[in-house]
């Protein structure tokens, strides 16, 4: 499944589209990570725990979108956009949406 954030798929022709598909995850970090983040606030540096968390979230959200697209019979998702919002104390939501299409 091809996922792009441009209008078309280079070198291919899009024949059908099936509408909007989306995937979202909400993840919370546990107390241990909070604590480490607090410490890092003092010394600085990359928060590896958080980076991993967000990468996993992105992967899961994208997977969900892909599953929906497959169900509709699409083989690509174009014009993909990401959106992050903080929905609860300590939890971040990652939302990805795009148009499911079929190319040939």
């Amino acid at each position: 499944m091809i996922i792009t954030n441009i209008e078309s798929i280079p070198g291919k022709k899009i024949v059908e589209h099936y509408g909007l598909v989306s995937g979202s995850t909400i993840r919370a970090k546990h107390i241990g990570r909070d604590f480490m983040a607090g410490l890092k606030n003092i010394v600085g540096g990359e928060l590896k725990g958080y980076t991993e968390l967000l990468q996993e979230s992105r992967a899961q959200a994208t997977q969900r979108m892909r599953t929906t697209a497959e169900q509709l019979g699409a083989n690509a998702v174009i014009n993909v956009r990401f959106s992050t919002s903080s929905v609860a104390q300590g939890a971040a939501e990652l939302y990805v949406y795009g148009t499911a299409v079929r190319y040939e």
């Binding site: 078309s8 909007l20 919370a28 970090k29 014009n79 956009r81 959106s83 929905v87 104390q89």
Partner: protein
């Protein structure tokens, strides 16, 4: 003891009424989605259009604010300690977005498609400033293209 009983009552109310409202909302959403299935709302910008046949292009916006109940908030708080997916809030965001999309589609009377759709989510409410969840607002907007028949 009184405090504990009060707390449990709120919890029960949150769970009971919240679940019922949610089911009802989902039923309404699925009904309307079926009805509006013929109107595509896509994120793509460049669509093959016969420019002469376009009557007008207008921005349509739909938004919805959904609030969280006591039970869900408690569950999210517990989740915050242990980490993992906050499953209780998933339905919230899902409902808000789908509702916003449906309202956007409903505003586009007679349009044949809605293009360049974007969806934004944010939290509003007094508690939002303290970092706790107040309510979720979802807004969906796009350009509705009406063709000459």
């Amino acid at each position: 003891m009184g405090d504990l009983v009060f707390f449990l009552i709120l919890l029960g109310m949150g769970y009971g009424v919240g679940t019922w409202t949610e089911k009802r909302h989902y039923r309404s959403i699925m009904e309307r989605e079926e009805q509006l299935l013929h109107l595509p709302a896509i994120t793509a910008k460049k669509v093959e259009l016969d420019n002469s046949k376009v009557e007008r292009a207008v921005l349509v916006v739909g938004s919805a604010v959904i609030s969280v109940d006591y039970f869900k908030r408690l569950l999210a708080g517990l989740r915050n300690i242990f980490g993992g997916t906050v499953k209780s809030y998933e339905t919230l965001l899902d409902r808000a977005r789908r509702e916003a999309l449906l309202r956007m589609k409903e505003k586009a009377h007679g349009a044949s498609m809605i293009i360049n759709v974007r969806i934004e989510t944010s939290t509003i409410g007094k508690r939002a400033f303290k970092g706790k969840l107040g309510s979720i607002e979802a807004i969906a907007y796009g350009t509705a293209i009406k063709m000459n028949s």
